[in-house]
Amino acid sequence: MYGGGNTFEAPVKADGLENEDPILLAEFEARIARGEKIEPSDWMPALYRKQLIRMIEQHAHSEIIGSLPEGTWITRAPGFRRKMAQMAKVQDEVGHAQLLYSAAETLGKTREQMLSDLINGKSKYSNVFNYPTPTWADSNVISWLIDAGAIVNQLANAKGSYGPYCRALDRICAEEAFHLKYGHDAVTHMATGTPTQRRMMQEALNRWWPAIMTFFGPADKMSTHTEILMRWKVKMATNDDCRQQFLDMYVPKIWELGLTLPDPNLHKNEETGQWEFTEPDWEDFKRVINGDGPCNKERLAVRRAAEENGAWVRRALLSPQAKYVKPLA
């Protein structure tokens, strides 16, 4: 996972572009139109740089914050097989954060600045992680369906225009494919298991479904105008497209397991080929994004404590007295 999903966009103003060199801008746009990748040392408009930093940074934050709700279940995972897999899966997510912070750093913002903005609330992460995971089954729902949602988004973004981000996403998607299998396997065991397991899984799915429906962000009709970001291949698919693709791929799989979804209006309109559903509560979504969700404070508090408790280590590493030790000398 976990990132992708909705990128919280500030209103994109195409003004400011008049300050860019029109010849360079035209060449830049022509390269993107030809399908070329933009590399860190290439010329790029300031707005492109800013939007990419915002997007990659949010994705990286989503990976580390997203590792917390599932991480809670590492120490509780039932049996050796699950315990080892859960650890490996969550470790991958932290590794993704590392890759993504490195990709964002190529655009000129340091990892320290990004983590500082996360803790100070200046920078967002995927909103779904502001909801609680009270049972093992909730963790399984994340492993399967949130990861599935993220893959839909990330496969699209991997075809974007910024080289370092695309390459990071290619590697991330390869690992995500395993997570999806792991999540599906865990959910299948629960959904076809004992009555206790089936009840746990159904309850977890009921809890998570509203959040899953908001995962790709507000409906296109309510979204900020993103035409220029699409043209620059920063944003590769609309929120609605991603949501439809996700529903198409996963609702049948959920139903196949004998699970139900808590939306009586959810069905595929065979004439339009589109899924129809009860409109998610976007007011609640906004409220949670803006800090008033059930777990916002807890998640950031954990991150802040980690930063504060580890500060002495980072100071020591930067100290001029520190002798560099070759890791595998």
């Binding site: 590792s67 917390l68 991480g71 039932p78 004992t194 206790t196 991150r303 280590v313 100290s319």
Partner: protein, 251 residues
Amino acid sequence: MNQAALKNLLYRLADDQLILGHRNSEWNGLGPILEEDIAFSSMAQDKLGHSLQLYLLLNQLGEAEPDTVAFTRNAPQFHCCQLVELPIGEYDFSLIRHFLYDHAELLRFEALGQSSYEPLAQVARKLKGELKYHVLHANTWVKRLGSSTEEAIARLQQSLDYTLPYALGLFEKTEQEEAIIAEGIFIGEDALKARWEESIRAILSQTALQMPDLQILTPVYGGRTGEHTEFLQPLLDEMAEVFRLDPTADW
């Protein structure tokens, strides 16, 4: 082969690896840098895998399945030393524990590679290849932080002083010690401790850290015979929280 002696040794080895693996995994999301979250997770996965291999050896000797053994016993039935039970604390403690523990484990499994019990010898030869990297990781960080800022050196020294008595508990002998040595299953705790002391001294001497006199320290014993700190039972309760919800379930 003296089965009672062999099982006694295997339980100690397996329980140590399981409990420290579990503790290491608690660093998820909390490391001082992301790379350390990842490293501690890798080591946790290895240690969990090691404990599984050892519980499988016990299973072959007639003990219950690994999941049952790991997830259903209570603290008094565990044979781990108290060192591995202690909460992760701050990074300096976890690093020092990792350093002291993994030096001992690498040497232990190197010696076990020669065990007269061939199935254990085979497992040990495989495990030591992984433990080598755990030791390299610990050495890298102890050398780097142990020669950096006053703050870091003071923290590491304090953790070293605090942790060493617990680390000596790694070498607590049980009533099976003589049989274990006589049967050629293992070289014995005294021999291992001597090698360990030499091994950690060699690294600490390259830092600003002072090695306390081990002779005057009182080792923290008891773990090998089921006497544990107050921290072990809550760890086991948490570990088995889901498993115990429905003991008939396949998770």
